[in-house]
């Protein structure tokens, strides 16, 4: 299905496609509650003090309601975030220059996916929020009981199952081969393998959930030269893009823990993904 086809379908499903179909705003519907509340805000006449105790309840409830509305309005604006996401800067810091779990200050970072400084292939991303730390091939943010993480790698070896003890095999040499290996390694598929164009490159997309225990312990899933083994946590959700970057298969892995990763952290992870640029 093409972008244009989807666009037409989404636009056709607009519940209110034509503003003219909307009857003129009925002032009595909108203005009555509004003006009543406006009066509460702008009426600064001194209130006559009543001696009857029971007569306090009405104004007190009104004042309390006004206070609640004011606080709610204040919260709405204090939580508004208009800070634009920075474009990836040319002077990005190499993740490889940092130690594992170093704090990442807001700024641009890159992962040299093959560890070869002579090649230009890299994934550059921007961290905006606080609490992010470096890992060998990306960044993560951990909270008391959970995490979100982004990795950009050229996979070296894969295990045929995340649930069984097997010997690792060489990773596929094309994005398609690599994608097929991950689509059949025992993860519970949440979004089936599908071709995509993402981050400027063609490839494949997959979302899988790590089984809760596999009847034993979850085994490693893949390695990246020269050292790392990637172990998943049970019930971890992993979103993959397997990209063909001018002939080199590059895997982008975004992961989080459904139900325990704070929504704000998952939103930050998506914001980091928005800035990710894969340079051939």
């Amino acid at each position: 299905m093409t972008h244009d086809q989807i666009d037409r379908m989404v636009r056709r499903a607009n519940p209110l496609p034509d503003l003219n179909a909307l009857e003129p705003v009925d002032a009595s519907v909108l203005t009555t509650p509004l003006e009543r509340r406006m009066d509460m805000q702008i009426d600064d006449r001194p209130t006559e003090v009543k001696t009857d105790r029971n007569r306090w309840s009405g104004p007190l409830i009104g004042i309390a309601a006004a206070a609640v509305i004011l606080v709610a309005g204040l919260v709405l604006f204090l939580t508004r975030d208009n800070t634009p996401v920075a474009e990836p800067a040319p002077n990005a810091t190499p993740i490889s220059a940092l130690n594992f779990d170093d704090a990442l200050a807001p700024g641009a970072y890159f992962v040299d996916t093959d560890g070869d400084e002579a090649s230009s292939l890299r994934g550059t991303f921007v961290i905006e929020g606080s609490g992010w730390t470096s890992v060998d091939a990306g960044a993560r943010k951990t909270s008391a009981e959970s995490f979100v993480a982004l990795l950009v790698v050229e996979v070296d070896q894969v295990w045929s199952s995340v649930c069984e003890s097997t010997a690792p095999v060489a990773a596929g040499t094309t994005a398609a081969d690599l994608a097929n290996q991950f689509a059949s390694n025992g993860l519970t598929v949440r979004e089936a393998l599908a071709p995509v164009n993402a981050f400027g490159h063609n490839g494949y997309h997959l979302v899988g959930e790590v089984p809760a225990g596999c009847g034993g312990e979850v085994k490693p899933a893949w390695t990246r030269a020269p050292v790392d083994e990637r172990w998943y946590d049970p019930t971890e959700m992993v979103e993959y893009w397997f990209l063909d970057v001018e002939g080199t298969p590059v895997m982008i892995e975004a992961s989080w823990a459904p139900g325990t990763s704070p929504e704000e952290d998952v939103a930050e992870l998506n914001a980091v993904l928005d800035t990710l640029v894969i340079t051939p």
Partner: protein
């Protein structure tokens, strides 16, 4: 009422006259229509409180959409709580009220597409709705969402890919045209 208050009220009324239909439409596309007017009123209540900070045209509506996003999000959280109550009512054999917002949708396919849009992640959903339903330019969406234009492009691209996967079963193959038999006149 002081002269300043009168000026503020006049500005508010001008904003209302110019944008209330669009704001009401924004609400009707996102919440049940029986709640849309209340949510729209809530948005304009915030506009009134912030009247001195509302930027002049052409940024006025974008600023109001920013407010609207927060108010609708807050309403949706309340709605989810109410939905759980609806679920309990259903279990007791009491039907909750139908969401009239869907009654204006014309076909079952459109209902499925609208449902798929509503199932997108919250920020992605808002971007797709602003783009495809509120028909805003991508630069304006970037301003409202506090993102770069390229981030908005990426989100729309990725969301449409998700929708394509979700909606693939809806696509009916186009029947091949009949092939004329050789020698037929």
């Amino acid at each position: 009422m002081t002269t300043v208050d009168m000026a503020r009220k006049a500005r508010f009324e001008a904003i209302w006259a110019e944008h209330s239909v669009k704001v009401r439409a924004y609400c009707m596309r996102r919440v049940a229509s029986h709640d849309a007017d209340d949510v729209a009123a809530e948005i304009f209540l915030v506009v009134w409180r912030r009247i001195d900070e509302i930027p002049p045209a052409p940024k006025t509506l974008l600023y109001i959409y920013g407010i609207a996003g927060k108010v609708v999000s807050n309403h949706t959280r309340s709605f989810r709580r109410r939905s759980r109550l609806d679920e309990k009512l259903r279990n007791l054999g009491v039907a909750p009220p139908v969401d009239p917002a869907f009654l204006v949708v014309q076909s079952s396919d459109d209902v499925d597409v609208a449902a798929a849009v509503r199932n997108l992640r919250p920020k992605d959903r808002e971007i797709v709705m602003l783009y495809a339903w509120d028909d805003l330019p991508r630069d304006d969406i970037a301003t409202i969402m506090g993102m770069t234009r390229s981030a908005v492009d990426q989100r729309i691209h990725r969301s449409y890919q998700r929708l394509a996967r979700a909606l693939a079963p809806l696509i009916k193959p186009i029947p091949s045209p009949p092939v004329a038999e050789e020698g037929a006149t």
